[in-house]
Amino acid sequence: MPTLTENKSSRPAARSAGRPLPELIFGDLWAYDPSPETADAKLKPRYDLFIGGKFVAPSTGKYFDSINPANETKLAEIAQANAADVDAAYQAARKAYDNVWGKMSGRERAKYIYRIARLLQDRAREFAVAETMDGGKPIKESRDFDVPMAAAHFFYHAGWADKLDYVAPGRKVAPLGVVGQVIPWNFPLLMLAWKLAPALAMGNCIVIKPAETTSITALKLAELLQDAGLPAGVVNIVTGFGDTGAAVMGHAIAAKVAFTGSTEVGKIIMRSLAGTDKKMTMELGGKAANIVFDDAPIDQAVEGIVNGIFFNQGHVCCAGSRLLVQETVATEVLAKLKNRIKVLRVGDPLDKNTDIGAINSKEQLATIERLVAVGVKEGATMFQPACKLPAKGYYFRPTVFSGVSMSHRIAREEIFGPVLSVLTFRTVDEAVEKANNTAYGLSAGVWTDKGSRILKMSTELKAGVVWANTYNKFDPTSPFGGYKESGFGREGGRQGLLDYCQLV
């Protein structure tokens, strides 16, 4: 039998003013019937490097294990590339650029990119399962968001390849040559698509390195690139750790490097390339404010808050990790938020009903635990639902800190996990001041029924993406990227394309 949060009448008349409605809590009273996704991810036991259109063994002969964070089992072995392998990838890319891709008409390039989009759609279910097993994200997210959005990015950018005269009005554009890219583990396939699609449409060739914990879907995409008949060397995928990434960023052939990852590593890359003429784009960290005004549709806002911070276990650079709520509605919002969090399902990422999957790696789990301990120590009030966590694997309960002040580390540092810090404000000006009082500037959320206030907030917030009465929405046509220490350059839309070309 379902039960109520408290043993009181659910009739509205029985409520005191401002008190939230009792909510249905399923708790453990109903036995939960698992509904796992069973499609075959078609994984190979071992993945080699993808260089010059072929899978090749790493020159070191070394492989490392890719672990399923949901149950700590080994999924596959991944090749560890060294500087020589990275160099081979760049030579292949250079050759492909000089001989084939750089000379090809935009119309023909477009067809290849369209093919990639279509082939990915064909195998979407398989890719979604692989993505979830490799990274720990809920299958409903990889199935409904990551994979279709990755395909959409290829499809959108394909159409640009023969329309580049319209990218920079008044000027002609030309490709840069070979570009080096390093991507993170939070959206492995989607980030790959964000990086490859605009670069390919512009006529560049690519050396890309996926994150060490999430290389599998990149290498599955390599199979698909072969099926698409993409000329050898146009896209080269090298796998490994930080040193491999450094070799990709620092290679002499790279005309431009694009990095998505932490601000800390972004700064290291910027310093290491200071003496070069390489173009750069950086997609770095964030500590987004999600601002709820007292006239907001509160129930919708609560859904937006939950989606803002718990989407992909909070492993999202634009996560709404700082909730700024107007004092007059703070109690109500917090109460509703807690009730909502109580019914989130945390557990097996392959289960179609799972809301919060596994934390991507043991290391990331330790980082989250460390920062949460700091939050408790600094005096914030912690709330976690009493959900059961699987015995094996890396999991973390959705966590809400209230009573947080701007100086708390959990209000300043990117946690990259399902941890929300709640702060309050009284006036519009105070909301703006608090929202902007951060070194980051990637995204922000605003919840209000007042149109003029939305536009005022959107103007004042120092962030590259502002979600008004919504959160965590993405689209290939919509430029994404940060202000300040969240990086520079945009991905998506016309603006994103311009970062992969030169004006001539």
């Binding site: 910027m270 310093r271 003496g275 979600w467 046509t477």
Partner: protein, 288 residues
């Protein structure tokens, strides 16, 4: 007896006021014939920090001006320069320019200001757009000025290059702290006097005279400078990029060793305006 003329004490234009360096240091400037002309302020890192503070104060107000208003103010600056061509020609002659070269540089500078004045209320229409997202949302991308921009002017074309760097940045509402030509600082001193009589609010453009070696490191590391532009040597570029990493500053520098033709049509561009812009995308659901 002929009348002894009154010589001018050159002061730099910072925060809408004319200052000497806080250090009270100067360096002598000789005219083209090698005679002593005047003592130019040798601005310090502290002067640079003060200038950034002035630019920070002026920034929000300038960015909030309507594009039409910013366009008119930049146009007005062109009017000021046109009316005082003779003063500016004299300033350029001190640096060794011929009369015809000075006249050419001044008219090119005026035309450049008029070019950017016209962009003020148009660049948004070319660079921003509505995005046709595949969901029921209205989604649009607009530009915003980055904030305070640090500019390093080259030694040559002491007026035209300086204005070619300043104008695109302020067109969109940025404020500027510029290090002017060390070899030929005087045209920038006179430009400051014209800026003061234009309608440009104090602090929007701040001009510093002095030595690059002394000031470039602070340009590189000052966290309130959101972008660095202009012209720099290989060593300076490296130093600036290293410093820029600390606060993820935007850097776009031309190379001293590959001189820019400031008179060319390519030295003015919508994309120079774009270089000091951020792009902001706003989403809102479409519904009832």
């Amino acid at each position: 007896m002929p009348r002894l003329p009154i010589t001018k004490t050159p002061k730099v234009y910072v925060g809408g006021a004319f200052i000497r360096s806080e250090s009270a240091r100067t360096f002598p400037l000789k005219d083209a014939a090698g005679n002593f002309f005047a003592n130019i302020p040798q601005c310090t890192r502290k002067d640079l920090r003060n200038a950034v503070e002035a630019a920070a104060k002026a920034g929000p107000g300038w960015a909030r001006r309507t594009p039409y208003n910013r366009g008119q103010i930049i146009y007005r600056l062109g009017e000021m320069l046109e009316a005082r061509k003779a003063d500016m020609a004299d300033a350029l002659l001190i640096g060794g320019a011929s009369k015809s070269a000075a006249a050419k540089e001044i008219t090119a500078t005026i035309d450049r200001l008029i070019y950017y004045a016209g962009w003020a209320d148009k660049y948004e229409q070319v660079l921003g757009n509505v995005n046709p997202v595949a969901s029921p949302h209205f989604n649009f991308t607009v530009t915003e000025p980055m904030g305070i921009v640090g500019l390093l002017a080259p030694e040559e074309a002491p007026l035209l290059a300086l204005v070619s760097l300043i104008a695109p940045a302020i067109t969109s509402g940025n404020t500027v702290v510029a290090l002017v030509s060390t070899a030929q600082p005087y045209p920038a001193i006179v430009l400051g006097e014209m800026l003061a009589t234009s309608d440009l609010p104090g602090g929007v453009v701040n001009l510093l005279t002095g030595f690059r070696k002394e000031l470039v490191p602070t340009f590189a590391t000052h966290t309130h400078l959101r972008a660095i532009g202009g012209v720099a040597s290989a060593d300076e570029r490296k130093a600036i990029k290293l410093g820029a990493a600390d606060s993820v500053k935007r850097v776009k520098l031309s190379k001293t060793e590959e001189p820019v033709d400031w008179f060319s049509g390519k030295a003015q561009s919508l994309y120079d305006v774009r270089d000091t812009l951020e792009f902001k995308t706003t989403w809102h659901p479409i519904g009832a």
